[in-house]
C-alpha cells in the first residue's frame, strides 16, 4: 500500500501536479528516504526546466511521524536578493521544503534591503522580541551583537554527536574566513558565504600577442597578471578606451562598484591593505591600541587612496553611482579588462545566457590575489618600509554572510538545524559552484588538489570552464591562506565607523575632497563615534580583538 502511494507521489511530481515543497512534505509522511527523494526531485520537470546551474542534493532525511521540531517556526532575516533566485536569500527558499520535511518546523524567510537589515535585527534583539530566530549577518556586526549579548553561541549544538543535527566540519573552513566565525573563543556564525576580494582579469586579452607587444612597448615590461597596484594602474590605463568585447565601442581598463552606502568601502580596505600592513606591522590599520586614536589618515592610507583615485580614472565615471550588480554586469558584458571584487563574480562569469545568466566572458576570466605594493607605511613606527618582493596582503573583506542565532529565539535548536543543514559539504559545494546564490567558497572542499579535495571535473559538472575554475580556486586559496591578512574590524560600532568611512571615501573618489582631507574627516568622524560609545570600552574591545 505504502509502495503504491510512494509511486503515485513520484508520478505526481514528475507530471508536475505537485511542487517540490509538497512532494517533500508528503514524502516525509510516506517515509521516502532522502536519497530517493533527491533522485525524484532531480528527475522532476521543474528541475530540468530551471537549469540555473547545479542543484544541491537533499541531505536531511524526512522525519515522518517523529519530527524533532514539529510545530516550531524558524524565521530567518536575510538581505533581499531577488526571491527564489536571489543572492544569499535564494538558498533558503531552496532548502525550505527539505528543512520542513526533516524537522516538522516551518521556515519563514523575511527579506529586507541591505540598509534595513542591521537596524531591524538590532531593534528586534534590543527589545527582546525574538521575531527573528536567525539573521544571515555580516561578520562586521559581531562586535555589536556579541558585546550586547544578543547572540547564542552554538558550540554546544556543534559538539552534539547524537545525530540530532546535520553534521558539518568546522575545521574545513580555511583559517582566514574561520577567524570570522568565532568571537571571544565561542562559535557564533555558522559558515555559509566566505567573502574576500581577489583580482579578476580578462585572460584572453592578457594572452593576446598584439596586446602583449603593444603593452611592452608602451611600458617597458611584459604584460602579465599584476602583482602590484602600480602594474595594475599601467594595465588599466593601457586597456582603457580600447574595444574589449568587439562591439565597436570603447571599453574600460577597470570597473568597480562605488555607490555610497553599498559596501564600496570594502574596495578601499582590500586595496589599501598592502600600503599599511606588512611583515613589521601585521595588525595595525584602524586604531592605535594605546588610546584608540584612528590611524586611517596615515601616509600609507593617503597614498593608497590617491592610487585608488588614479585607477578609477581608467573606469567608467558611472561606477561612482553603481551598486554591485551594475559593476559586475559591466565586467560580464566584456566591457572591462580588470576588476577586484568578491567570489560571486568568478561564478557569475560561468553563467551564460543559456543558463539564464548574462556572462559573455566564460573561459576568459582569470583570477589572482589582490595586488600588493613595493613598500608600506608602518603606522607603528611612522616609517616607510621598502620590500624586496611585492608586499601582498590577503583579505576577508566583505560580509561573509552567515547565520547567527538570536538569543531571543524561541526555536534555537531548529534554527541551528537549518543553518547546519546548509553548511553541510554536499550543499556548500554546490553553492560554491553557482554565482546567483551569492555563496562564495572558503572551505577545503571548494578547492582543487593539493589545496582541497574538489576536482576540475566537479567544477566542470557545476558549469565552469576548467581554466577559470583553476585560476579562481587558486586565487582564493592564496588569498585566504596568505601569511598577512587584512585586520577585519569587529568591535562595537564597526557599522558606524565603516558607514562614516564609506562616505568620506566616496567624497574623495568623486573629487569633493582630497584624499588627505577625506581621511582626516574620517578620523574626526571616528573620534566622535568612539567618544560617544565610550573610549575606554572601545579601547578594551579593540585590544581584545587584536589579541593584546
Amino acid at each position: 500500500m505504502a509502495d503504491r502511494k510512494q509511486l503515485e507521489l513520484a508520478r505526481a511530481l514528475l507530471a508536475g501536479r505537485i511542487d517540490r515543497r509538497d512532494f517533500l512534505k508528503q514524502a516525509s509522511v510516506l517515509g521516502i528516504s532522502a536519497a530517493a527523494a533527491d533522485l525524484f526531485l532531480r528527475a522532476a520537470p521543474g528541475a530540468r526546466a530551471q537549469d540555473s546551474g547545479p542543484v544541491p542534493p537533499v541531505v536531511a532525511e524526512p522525519c515522518g511521524d517523529d519530527c524533532p521540531f514539529a510545530g516550531q517556526t524558524v524565521t530567518v532575516l536575510v538581505n533581499t536578493g531577488g526571491g527564489e533566485k536571489g543572492s544569499i536569500e535564494g538558498p533558503f527558499h531552496e532548502v525550505r521544503a527539505e528543512f520542513e520535511a526533516a524537522t516538522g518546523a516551518t521556515l519563514n524567510i523575511a527579506a529586507v534591503p541591505f540598509e534595513e537589515h542591521f537596524p531591524k535585527l538590532i531593534e528586534d534583539m534590543a527589545s527582546g522580541t525574538g521575531q527573528y530566530d536567525t539573521s544571515v549577518a555580516g561578520a562586521w556586526w559581531l562586535g555589536d551583537l556579541v558585546a550586547a549579548d544578543f547572540l547564542l553561541a552554538y558550540d554546544e549544538y556543534y559538539n552534539d554527536t547524537s545525530g540530532k543535527f546535520p553534521e558539518w566540519d568546522y575545521d574545513a573552513v580555511l583559517t582566514g574566513p574561520r577567524s570570522l566565525l568565532e568571537y571571544g573563543g565561542s562559535k557564533y556564525m555558522v559558515p555559509n558565504d566566505h567573502d574576500g576580494q581577489v583580482l579578476y582579469y580578462r585572460s584572453d586579452l592578457f594572452a593576446d600577442s598584439e596586446h602583449q607587444a603593444a603593452f611592452a612597448e608602451a611600458y617597458n615590461y611584459d604584460l602579465a597578471v599584476p602583482t602590484t597596484w602600480d602594474q595594475f594602474a599601467d594595465i588599466a590605463e593601457y586597456f582603457n578606451g580600447k574595444d574589449l568585447n568587439g562591439d565597436g565601442e570603447p571599453d574600460s581598463g577597470v570597473v568597480l562598484h562605488l555607490k555610497v552606502g553599498q559596501q564600496g568601502m570594502f574596495h578601499f580596505m582590500s586595496f589599501s591593505a598592502p600600503f599599511v600592513i606588512g611583515p613589521e606591522n601585521p595588525k595595525l590599520y584602524w586604531f592605535n591600541p594605546d588610546d584608540m586614536t584612528p590611524l586611517v589618515n596615515s601616509a600609507g592610507h593617503v597614498a593608497a587612496l590617491n592610487k585608488l583615485i588614479e585607477i578609477t580614472k581608467f573606469g567608467p565615471e558611472a561606477m561612482f553611482g553603481w551598486n554591485l550588480p551594475e559593476g559586475w554586469s559591466y565586467f560580464l558584458a566584456g566591457r572591462a579588462a580588470m576588476t577586484f571584487t568578491w567570489g560571486d563574480l568568478g561564478a557569475l562569469a560561468q553563467e551564460t545566457a543559456e543558463r539564464g545568466g548574462q556572462s559573455t566572458v566564460q573561459g576568459m576570466t582569470g583570477a589572482g590575489p589582490i595586488p600588493g605594493t613595493n613598500g608600506y607605511f608602518n603606522v607603528a613606527t611612522n616609517a616607510m618600509v621598502e620590500t624586496a618582493e611585492p608586499n601582498m596582503v590577503g583579505n576577508t573583506t566583505g560580509g561573509s554572510w552567515a547565520g547567527v542565532i538570536s538569543k531571543f529565539s524561541k526555536a534555537p535548536e531548529a534554527t541551528y538545524f537549518l543553518l547546519a543543514l546548509m553548511a553541510t559539504k554536499p550543499k556548500s559545494v554546490v553553492y560554491g559552484y553557482r554565482g546567483w546564490d551569492g555563496v562564495d567558497p572558503g572551505r577545503t572542499f571548494h578547492f582543487l588538489p593539493p589545496n582541497g579535495d574538489n576536482s576540475i571535473e566537479g567544477y566542470e559538472g557545476g558549469g565552469w570552464a576548467a581554466a577559470d575554475a583553476e585560476a579562481y580556486t587558486t586565487a582564493y586559496f592564496e588569498n585566504f591562506g596568505a601569511e598577512l591578512q587584512f585586520p577585519y574590524l569587529r568591535i562595537p560600532g564597526t557599522f558606524e565607523y565603516w558607514q562614516a568611512f564609506d562616505v568620506r571615501l566616496s567624497e574623495a573618489v568623486t573629487g569633493q575632497s582630497s584624499a588627505e582631507d577625506a581621511l582626516n574627516a574620517a578620523v574626526a568622524d571616528f573620534e566622535g563615534i568612539t567618544d560617544r560609545l565610550g573610549r575606554e570600552t572601545q579601547l578594551e574591545q579593540y585590544r581584545t580583538s587584536l589579541g593584546l
Binding site: E115, E116, F118, P119, I122, E123, M125, A126, S127, D144, A148, K259, V260, G261, Q262, P316, E317, A318, M319, F320, G321, W322, Y330, F495, E496, Q499, V503, R504, S506, E507, A508, V509, T510, G511, Q512, S513, A524, D525, R532, L533
Partner: protein, 311 residues
C-alpha cells in the same frame, strides 16, 4: 443692594435650575463628540511630542535609553559639521526645486486656462506624476538617469550632447534629484493654480482687454495680484513638503556621491535607524520642526496680509 440681591437670587436661580440639566446633557454630548479628537491629539500629537522631548534629553544605544544628557544632543546640533552640510544641501534643494515648480506650474496653468483642443487629455497627462509614490519615482529615476545608455542620456546624445554623469557626479546628482522632484510636484502647482485661475472673474481681464491692455499687462497687474494669496499658499505647502524630501534621495542616490545629496531627513533617518542614536535623531527632528515652523510663520503672515485678515 445686598437686600435686592438676596431677594432676586432665588428668582435668578429658578430659571437656571431647569436649563442646567439641559446644559449638563449638552455638555456631555459636547464632550462625547470632542472626545475622539481630544484622544487623537493626546495619543498622536501630544504623547509623541513629549516622548520625543524625553528622547532628545537622553543617550541611546540600540534603541535602549541610557544616561540623561540634558541638552547635550542639542549642543551636538551646533557642532555637527555633517549636519550643517546636509542643511545647506536641503536648502539648495528646496529653493531650486520649489522655485522651478512654481514658475513652470503657474505657466502651465496659464497655458491650459483657455479653450484648446484636447485640453482635458493634456491636463490629465500633466497631472499623472502627482499620483506616483516618491519611492517608485526614485527607482524610475535610476533607470531614466542611468549613465551608460539610459533614456535621458540617449536623448541628449541623439541631440549631439555628451553623456551626463547624472548619478556619479556630485553636481549632477543634485540636479537629478531636483529634476525628479520638479517632475513629480509641478503638476500640484499646476493643478491648484489652474483651479485658482478658473475661479477668477473674467470681467476684469475682459475689461482690461477692452481698455487696450496687453496680455502681459493683464497678467502682471490683474491676474497675479488676484492669485497672490493662493500662490503664497502653494509656495508654503510645497516648501514645507520639500524640506521633508526623503524617498527619492534614498532610492536614487542614497545621499551620494559622498554626501552630495544628503538631506536632513535622511541624516535623521540614518542617525536613528542605522546608528540607533534615538536621542540625537530626536534633537534633529526638533531642528527640522523649528525650521519648518519659522518658514510657516513667515509665509503664513504673508498669506494673511494678502487676504487682508486681521493679524
Amino acid at each position: 443692594m445686598r437686600g435686592e440681591a438676596t431677594v432676586e437670587a432665588p428668582v435668578r436661580a429658578a430659571p437656571r435650575s431647569e436649563p442646567s440639566a439641559r446644559w449638563r446633557a449638552r455638555d456631555r454630548a459636547k464632550w462625547f463628540f470632542l472626545l475622539p479628537g481630544v484622544v487623537w491629539i493626546l495619543l498622536f500629537t501630544i504623547f509623541p511630542l513629549l516622548y520625543a522631548i524625553r528622547m532628545s534629553l537622553h543617550a541611546y544605544r540600540f534603541g535602549i535609553e541610557g544616561a540623561f544628557v540634558g541638552l547635550g544632543n542639542f549642543q551636538r546640533l551646533l557642532t555637527d559639521a555633517v549636519l550643517h552640510e546636509d542643511l545647506v544641501t536641503t536648502f539648495q534643494f528646496v529653493i531650486s526645486s520649489v522655485a522651478v515648480e512654481m514658475v513652470v506650474g503657474v505657466s502651465l496653468a496659464l497655458l491650459f486656462n483657455r479653450e484648446m483642443r484636447g485640453r482635458g487629455l493634456l491636463r490629465t497627462l500633466a497631472t499623472l506624476p502627482l499620483f506616483a509614490t516618491p519611492v517608485a519615482i526614485g527607482y524610475l529615476g535610476i533607470t531614466l538617469f542611468y549613465e551608460e545608455g539610459g533614456p535621458v542620456n540617449a536623448f541628449i546624445q541623439t541631440l549631439g550632447g555628451s553623456q551626463v554623469p547624472w548619478l556619479s557626479n556630485p553636481f549632477w546628482a543634485k540636479v537629478a534629484i531636483i529634476l525628479l522632484d520638479i517632475w513629480q510636484w509641478t503638476p500640484f502647482v499646476f493643478l491648484v493654480s489652474l483651479a485658482g485661475l478658473q475661479g477668477l472673474s473674467q470681467d476684469l481681464t475682459e475689461a482690461s482687454e477692452v481698455d487696450g491692455a496687453a496680455w502681459w499687462q493683464s497678467l502682471v497687474f490683474i491676474i497675479l495680484p488676484l492669485m497672490a494669496p493662493l500662490l503664497w499658499l502653494i509656495l508654503l505647502l510645497r516648501a514645507i513638503e520639500a524640506f521633508k524630501v526623503f524617498d527619492t534621495v534614498v532610492t536614487l542616490t542614497a545621499g551620494g556621491p559622498g554626501r552630495a545629496t544628503e538631506v536632513i531627513s535622511r541624516y535623521t533617518y540614518i542617525t536613528m535607524r542605522k546608528f540607533s542614536d534615538y536621542g540625537y535623531a530626536a534633537a534633529q527632528g526638533f531642528l527640522l520642526l523649528l525650521i519648518v515652523a519659522i518658514l510657516f510663520t513667515l509665509l503664513w503672515s504673508r498669506i494673511k496680509h494678502n487676504y487682508g485678515a486681521p493679524r
